[in-house]
Amino acid sequence: MNPERIAEHIPRLRRYARALAGDAHAADDLVQDTVERAINKRHLWRPGSDLRAWLFAIMHNVFVNQLRSRQAHPEDALDEDALPAVAPTDGARLEIRDLQTALALLPPEQREVVLLVGLEQLTYAEASHALGIPIGTVMSRLFRGRERLRLLVTGAPAVPALKIVK
């Protein structure tokens, strides 16, 4: 496979990584590691299979490794600059920031599924393949992630909480 075919996917990998990692620099680190690994391992890609799904699978592995190494070095875990400072008058960007904040508060495994399905428009089967988890797990992470995101963004309970049984 020609490395240029991988390069064609960089804009979409960057979009996903930006939403996953939060800030632009960390996101491009993620993309860089992913693309380098993909080029080194391109003989493992099966011709005819979906290259983009394969790249997402690699990015998932890189992301998980980064999370692990951050747990090993907790001083790197919180980056105060991770969210761009936004002028309060800038309504549109404030909304984006809210969404990014909410995404950052999702557990990473739920964030991945919500983004692969909602942003990258992978089918549930493709997401299952990219993340190396059963489709049932994709669905349960999707349910929980979306409900949690809904709660975070609107501040309202996602599922009407308790029904009073008389």
């Binding site: 496979m1 020609n2 490395p3 979409r12 491009d28 080029i39 990014q100 349910f143 979306r146 809904r150």
Partner: protein, 246 residues
């Protein structure tokens, strides 16, 4: 019948066929809580696109753009080294060409012809495909009468398609065919040479649209043919040579 959670999400993600969609819509029409959930999921998807789609239009940073280019700097540098070496021993090729111009020229011409005949072939480009690579190499080695190897050109963007046996001036000739992701093909033509030959550096020859680099290495003559620029073909010829002489 009440749709499952799976179906509600699949509906929000537009993964359902028309039939299932109608079932979900009928349910949502009389289940306002579920309708609100589905609407919220759709809004989430829309918000994600609104927030992150602009990334698609950003220029790709240099450090990402150059990753694939950087990989290619290696072979170019190596090729430059081989070119220098070629210049040093170039007189060998000259001497040989002067001594036996006909034999070598016709070798490259035959290779180019074989390339021109078989590389456009859609249904039967090879006799034995790359899936049976071991069989292919053993078979061609046996027929050509020398231990052959099929170089790996993945790093150059080419995958082995397979190979075939052809008649040559001094017996059987092997042709290995490679193809890149755009369908562009290269062939490596390998023949056992009659009599004793001296090794040569790469010699370039242009036969109509087909560029050929050929060389002699021990008892075998090699010709790499393709419709691509001379410098690109030289890079690949260099890789082939290095792999066959590790």
């Amino acid at each position: 019948m009440k749709p499952s959670d799976n179906e509600l999400h699949a509906y929000a993600d537009d993964h359902l066929d028309a039939e299932s969609r109608r079932v979900v819509e009928a349910h949502l029409a009389q289940a306002p809580e579920d309708a609100a959930r589905v609407a919220a999921y759709r809004e989430q998807n829309a918000a994600l696109h609104a927030a992150f789609d602009p990334v698609l239009d950003e220029p790709v940073p240099d450090r990402l753009r150059h990753i694939s280019a950087r990989r290619r700097a290696g072979p170019v540098a190596v090729a430059a080294g081989w070119l220098a070496l070629g210049a040093v021993i170039g007189w060998l090729a000259n001497a040989l060409l002067t001594d036996r111009p006909h034999a070598l020229m016709s070798f490259s011409r035959q290779a180019a012809l074989a390339h021109a005949v078989y590389s456009p072939e859609v249904r039967h480009p090879v006799e034995v495909g790359a899936a049976e690579q071991e069989h292919l190499v053993n078979w061609l080695s046996k027929r050509v009468g020398a231990k052959l190897r099929a170089p790996v050109l993945t790093a150059e963007g080419y995958e082995l398609v397979g190979g075939r046996l052809l008649p040559g001036e001094s017996g059987a000739v092997a042709q290995f065919m490679y193809q890149d992701s755009k369908g562009k093909r290269l062939t490596l033509y390998v023949s056992r040479l009659a009599g004793r030959q001296r090794d040569t550096a790469f010699v370039f020859s242009q036969e109509d649209k087909v560029s050929v680099f050929y060389w002699i290495d021990g008892a075998l003559g090699y010709a790499l043919s393709g419709e691509l620029p001379k410098a690109d073909l030289l890079n690949i010829a260099t890789t082939v040579y290095k792999q066959l002489n590790p």
